[in-house]
Every structure is written in C-alpha cells, then in structure tokens.
C-alpha cells in the first residue's frame, strides 16, 4: 500500500512518518513551559483544525500554544484558549 501523504496548511509530507518527525523536532526544540513561536503557531493552528475533536480542543478560540508536560514524564503541545483555559492535544490524532 502506498504511503499516505499528509498536508498541514501549506506544508506537505510524503508520508505520516515525515509529518510525525517534523512535529516531534518542533516539540523538542522548546523547553518545558515555553510558548510556541509565531511561525510554529501558524502550523499548529492548521494542524488542530484537523483534530477530530477540534471544536472541543479550541473552545472559546485559540490565543497561543505552549509546550508543557503530559503524563508519565512526556511532553506535548497545549492550546491556550482566549478565555484563559488550556488543553493538551495529541498531534498524532490530527492526521
């Protein structure tokens, strides 16, 4: 079966693994607690729109993204909403 390409906004990846690798690099270039840069936020905005529970994740609207810890010593992206609440999301669920 040919690999399924992934498109996130203007970014194009030949296969899922490439997208996962790109996003993982992005995740780990930050320190825990950091807010994500403007450029990366644009990509994450496009990405979260592809999340099956997009509406629940974005809630009142997206203010910014952060890198924070997740369960068992791992880390993930969090969406910071305009109402001050915050929610983690899995990039893998988006494509």
């Amino acid at each position: 079966m040919p690999a399924k390409p992934v498109k996130i906004g203007s970014l194009y990846f030949k296969k899922k693994g490439d997208a996962a690798h790109y996003l993982r690099e992005m995740l780990y270039k930050y320190d825990l607690g950091d807010k994500v840069s403007k450029d990366d936020s644009t990509i994450l905005r496009d990405l979260i729109l592809m999340h099956p529970e997009c509406e629940e994740k974005t809630g009142s609207g997206i203010e910014s993204f952060s890198v924070r810890s997740a369960d068992f010593g791992t880390r993930c992206f969090w969406v910071n909403r305009t109402d001050g609440t915050t929610e983690k999301f899995s990039v893998g669920a988006c494509y």
Binding site: Y30, D31, L32, G33, D34, K35, S37, S66, V67, R68, S69, F72, G73, T86
Partner: protein, 748 residues
C-alpha cells in the same frame, strides 16, 4: 556582717538599668554584662551548653534597647528552629511592652520605621534572611547591634560561609556597629573578633565551668546475659560500677538496644535518646512506646498535639499515636509549630521520652534529665566530634529544679560505635570555613581554574570548594585583590598571590557588577555570568525565560525549565535530574501556599493513580525534606539569583516592562506564601502552618495586617466550629490577642 553581705550581693549582681533591679549573676555572666555594655566594642563570649547564656544575652539585649539609643538590632541564629525559639522568648520577656518590636520577617517597612527612630526593632534572622533584608534594602541597611548566637557555626561547611558573609556585609555598611558573639565552650572565642573595624575594643569572655554536674555513665552488657547491662560512672580515666540495669525484653539489634536501655534507665521522664537520622528516631520512639504499660493518655495537651499531627501532616503520621503515650520524635524538617509544641511538652514532663536527631545540637535549647546515646553521628555518617558530643551532653542537667544529669553511653568499647571511645570533655576550635578551606585544602586553586568547565556535572570537589570559591570571587570583584580583605592577615602572602592570579583570570570573563553578585552569597559569579550569557544568546521569545506565577497553569513546567537552566549554568543544585519535576512541583505547591498536609496528600494520590508503591512514613519524611531543603533553602537561594540576572538582562534589552517589582521570589519561597493575606498573617507572628490553616477559611486574598486582625476578632467566636486544631487556635489567640473575653472563652 551586713556590709559584707551587701558587698557580696553587689559583687554577684549586675544592675538592670531599665528596671533599676539587681540581677543575680555568676562571674562569667557579670563579665559578659560589663564587657558587652562598654561602648564601641565587639565582644565574644563562650560558656558551656546550658549555662544560661541565651537568657543572659536576651536580658542584656532588652536592657540595652531600653536604656540606650540602640534601635536596630539583628539577632542571628543558625537555624529556623532557634529563630522561632528566640523570637518566642523575646516576646515572652517583653510581655505587653509595645515599644520594642520583634520580628523574624525581612520586611523593609519594619526596618525603615526602626531606622527612623519610630519603633525599636529586633530582627531575629538566620543568615539567609539577613541577606534577604539587605537585598530588599539594596544594602542601605545600618544595624546598631548585631548578636550572633552559636557563632562557632561560622565553621560550617556550607552555611558558615553565608554567615561570615552576612556579618561582613552589615559591618561594612555601619562601621560603628556593635557586635556580640556567643558560642558554646570554644577554645578561642577571640578568633571572631579579628575582623572588628580598626579602633574597636575587643573583649573576649570565656568560662569553662559547667553550671550543672554531668555524669557520664557507661552501659555494657553483662557477659552471656543480654537483658542485663552493667552501668559504670566515669571518673577520671576509669569507671566506678554503680549497678546493673535489668531490661524487660531481649534487645535484638542495635535499635532495640538503644530503645530498651532508654526505656529502662529513663522511666522517670526527661529522657532524650540521640538517634542518627529521622527514620531511626521514628523507629526508636515506636519501640519505646510499647514498653510502657501505661494506658493511652487523656491529657488534653497531648491529645491536642496528636490532633495537630494528624491534621497538619497526615492522619496516619506516626507521631500522633506515640504522643498519646507520652513518647515523641523530633527532627529538623518537621513543621515548626509541631516541633515547638513537642519541645514544650517535653520540658514540662508530659512527653517523657524524646527521640531526637542532630537538629538538637544545631541549636535548640532543650534540657533534659538523661541522654541515652550509642555511636552518635552528625549529619550523614560522620562520627561526632568531641566538642559536638559535649554540646549534646551539656543538655543533661537543669531538668526542672535538678542540677545534674546523666549521659548513658551504650557499648563504649565498640569501635564501630565509638571510633575514638567516649569523647573526653572538649571545647570547639573556632575556625571560619573560608580559612579552613584556604589553609588545608590544596585543590582550591585547581578547582577555581576549572570552575568554568563546559559540563557542570563534571565539576569535582564542589562540596569542599564551591561556597568558599564563590565567597573569594565576590571578595576579589569587590576589592580587586584578596590582599585588601580582612582574611589577608590570616594567610600566607604567596597563597594570596596565587589565588589573586586565579581570580583575576575568572574576573576577566565576568561583566556582572560586584553589587549584584554579593546579593547572592554562596552563588558563584562565574555561574551567574554563564546564565547571563545564556540569556543573551537565547533566540526564542524572551518571555519564555520568566517563571510563571504559581497560580498559572504553566507554572510547574516553567519551574522545571528554570531549575534545569540553573543546573546547567549556575551550579548543579537540583539533583538528580530525574527528580527535577518533583522538586518543581513541590516548589510550586509551596508557593501557592498549600499546607504540608495537602502537599503530602497530593503525592499519595499521585502514587495511587499511577499504581506506584510507596511507604507512607518515607513519603511523609521525604516530602518534609523537599519542602525544607529545596523549597525553603536551595530554591530561594538560586531562583532569586536567576531572577536578578534575568532582570539585569531585561533592563539591558529594554524589556523592563516584564519585571514585576512587587514580587520578591526569595521572600515568597522562604515563607511559602503567594498572597498578601498569607504574608500579613505571618507578619502577625503566626507560623506558616497556622497562617495556612486560617487562610483556608479566609476568602479575601489581599488583607493587610489590620484586616487580618479584624477578621480574627470577628471570627474567633466561631473558631470551634471551623474544625481548627486547638494548638492552631491557641497560637492565633496568643499572637493576635483579640479582646480578653474571647481569649477566656478558649483558654477555660
């Protein structure tokens, strides 16, 4: 005859000018009083433990404050436990005297009021808190009188350097400051006077006469009879047999041996058992509690303490059931309110056996009738030095009206327990840690040369050299050469030249001003410089460098990162790396103002949620340890340095809009407070445990001190219905003193 009697009375008394009354004193006390009262002098006094030094110093201090224009006094005590004790003693002595303020909080406003002559104030501080106050006031701090209690601790390997630095720092800002040093049985009290400003009189007062009789008793098992222990009273180089102690059970194992002998020999109460560490103290107290056939107590004060232990720590905290049987343990990381109440109930005989640790020789004034000890260690595993042993032994005696005490030493001929035998009476040699490291350690220059190593985790010898190295580098940055410093007179000029050359190489890499690095004693300027370089080279959003307020959702993650930056740039402090998240979590919870009980409960829930096994007693002790050692010691020391360097960077890049001037992370961490209300409650003199318990009942987070007093006055009638432990209610009523009718309602 009458004239002779009067003469003797005058010879043995000093005049307390404030009251016009004569105070009966012994020769040492008289010398101290006269010497300390002379103008323009620095005095160093040494006398055996439990000879009434502290009481005398406090009496003299108050007399001095009342009768002279002295208005800013700093009383330095080496531990928070002793700070609490001294603060309470001063408050008791002052009773309702409102002209003198006593505080243990480093608050600018209290200093400014004292400096302006409005109220006289005694600041009772640890050395770290004195630095905090000097930082808050940007070194615009002029102290009239400095008293340093347990001054021999200037030789401690970590905090001794911070103490020396604190003394020098405030003596620089007022050359006319009077200083009084007090230490237990030291060989050379005059050592502390060496750095007195030129033109100051130096008075050394020394006494070696114990005011109570201490009997050293050796306990050895009778051959073939493990339940029989022969006791011998040490007299000169031999011992006189005084009888055989009969144990009720076979003492299998060393802990049982200690516990059973203590229970058999100390049944009259007033018995201290010296244990090597908190875990051992808990175990030995548990063993002793089973040997006494008495029923559970119905004494209200003991029951109140048990209640506080259950509510303030955990419902299964081992202390509670023990206290109900008149037995307790005592260690440094315990919450102050509980520890102080244990000491009080031991003093009045309600707690009969107390298993304690080296916290007691680190400066808690607690006398007893009998001390039972086997193979004492100080800290982690180091055999106790003779002077420390005698500092401990000196606590035996002065129990109630008694003037003699017993020190029972078990297995005196066992070399693993007593490597040098039971130590002979001995006095402390005072030596500053800085001098000790400079004279005896060869690796200092090498360490400093390699201090800027790429990976700080590879740094070797840090435990010996880091503190002293940081002190010397600050001194060099301030003066341009060690030859200009007070220490120069104590060291060989060749060594100084060698160190100067090495420090010069380091200083070339540093553009942090000396005024900034001296704000952080013990934190190396070269480490601070590396952090500044990290900030300068940071390519991300500068806001990412700031920690978040503790209430913020990203606070925990940001503290994890801040701690890791500190580890890699300043010094590897929060170790091992895998535990950084746990330390960050507890720091954030502490800053949020959570109670110890809640912090413990959350850790237990975390373990249960993740199916992790744990031992409750270990988890409780471990949490207390992280609170005391990380949240209240390492984190304020290093995170406040991080913030200072960050502020410097933000100013340089014109982003000072990000600086929150009103929030001092050092103060917030030292006291574990996040809101104005909590800090106000602590300013009223309440312990953190009490302040947090009350704050849980108070809705407003911005109450001033007056606002808190009003809240307490309004709500005191309902305290009973709030399920607050009685000891907490009592502390509130003692410190805040609402109208008398309310107090009576609770004390009846």
């Amino acid at each position: 005859m009458r004239i002779e009697a009067y003469k003797r009375k005058f010879d043995d008394s000093v005049l307390v000018e404030a009251t016009g009354k004569w105070l009966g004193v012994n020769e040492f006390q008289k010398e101290f009083w006269t010497g300390a009262s002379s103008e323009n002098s620095w005095l160093s006094a040494s006398a055996p433990t439990a000879s009434g030094k502290t009481f005398l110093v406090l009496q003299w201090l108050l007399d001095r404050l009342i009768t002279t224009d002295t208005s800013v006094v700093v009383y330095l005590a080496p531990t928070r436990a002793l700070v609490t004790e001294i603060e309470a003693s001063l408050n008791d002595l002052l009773a309702d005297d409102k002209t003198i303020n006593v505080t243990s909080l480093p608050l600018a406003e209290k200093y400014l009021s004292a400096a302006a002559g409005v109220t006289k104030t005694i600041f009772v501080f640890t050395q770290e808190r004195l630095h905090l106050l000097a930082n808050i006031l940007s070194d615009e701090l002029s102290v009239d009188l400095l008293i340093v209690d347990e001054a021999h601790k200037i030789g401690d390997n970590q905090r001794g350097v911070i103490l020396q630095d604190a003394i020098e720092r405030i003596s620089r800002s007022n050359h006319k400051m009077k200083a009084v040093f007090v230490s237990p049985s030291t060989q050379n009290p005059d050592e502390l006077l060496q750095d007195a400003p030129i033109g100051t009189d130096r008075v050394s007062v020394d006494s070696d006469i114990p005011t109570v009789l201490q009997n050293v008793i050796l306990a050895q098992q009778v051959p073939r009879k493990p339940k029989e222990w022969a006791l011998g009273l040490v007299s000169g180089d031999s011992s006189i047999p005084i009888g055989v102690l009969q144990l009720a059970n076979k003492p299998a194992g060393l802990r049982k041996r200690l516990a059973f002998i203590a229970a058999a020999a100390g049944a009259r109460g007033g018995t201290l058992i010296y244990c090597n560490g908190a875990a051992e103290a808990e175990e030995i107290a548990l063993l002793i509690s089973q040997l006494d056939i008495r029923e559970k107590t119905d004494d209200k004060e003991l029951l109140d303490l048990a209640d506080l232990a259950r509510k303030g720590v955990h419902r299964s905290y081992q202390l509670a059931p023990l206290v109900e049987r008149g037995v307790a343990f005592h260690y440094g990381n315990m919450p102050a309110l509980i520890r102080v109440e244990i000491e009080r109930l031991f003093r009045i005989g309600k707690i009969r056996f107390l298993a304690c640790t080296s916290t007691l020789i680190e400066g808690v004034n607690l006398s007893c009738r009998t001390i039972v000890v086997r193979g004492p260690r100080k800290g982690r595993g180091n055999p106790m030095e003779p002077h420390d042993f005698w500092n401990l032994a000196g606590r035996a005696g002065r129990w109630g009206n008694e003037f003699q005490g017993n020190i029972i030493c078990i297995d005196p001929n066992d070399e693993s327990a007593w490597p040098i035998g039971v130590p002979k009476r001995s006095r402390y040699p005072i030596q500053r840690e800085t001098d000790a490291v400079m004279t005896s350690k060869d690796g200092l220059v090498e360490y400093l040369d390699g201090r800027d190593i790429e990976s700080l985790s590879d740094l070797e010898g840090a435990e010996h050299y880091e503190q002293v190295g940081a002190y010397l580098l600050d001194t060099y940055l301030r003066l341009g050469s060690l030859a200009n410093a007070g220490l120069a007179k104590r060291h060989d000029s060749k060594l100084l030249e060698k160190l100067d050359a090495c420090l010069e190489r380091m200083a070339r890499k540093i553009d942090i001003p000396a005024e900034l690095s001296i704000r952080h004693p013990g934190v190396s300027a070269i480490g601070l410089q590396r952090l500044l370089d990290l900030f300068k080279n940071y390519e991300g959003d500068v806001e990412n460098l700031l920690p978040a307020p503790s209430e913020s959702v990203d606070a925990y993650d940001r503290y994890v990162t801040v701690m890791r930056r500190i580890n890699s740039s300043i010094f590897p402090v929060f170790l091992p790396d895998g535990l950084v998240p746990l330390h960050a979590l507890i720091v954030v919870e502490w800053l949020k103002g959570l109670s110890l009980a809640v912090i413990i409960r959350k850790r237990i829930e975390y373990h249960q949620r993740n199916n992790k096994t744990f031992k409750l007693a270990v988890l409780i002790r471990d949490t207390m340890d992280i609170v005391e050692q990380t949240a209240r010691f390492k984190a304020p020391k290093y995170i406040s340095a991080y913030m200072d360097i960050l502020h410097m960077h933000l100013l340089e890049i014109k982003r000072d809009d990000l600086i929150d001037e009103d929030f001092d992370i050092g103060v917030a961490l030292e006291f574990g407070v996040s809101s104005t209300t909590l800090l106000s409650l602590m300013e009223l003199g309440l312990s953190r445990m009490t302040a947090v318990a009350l704050y849980e009942k108070i809705s407003k987070d911005d109450l001033s001190r007056d606002g808190c007093v009003r809240w307490i006055t309004d709500h005191a009638p309902n305290f009973e219905g709030m399920d607050l432990p009685n000891i907490i209610v009592r502390e509130v009523l003692e410190r805040v003193r609402p109208p008398r009718s309310l107090q009576e309602q609770f004390t009846d």
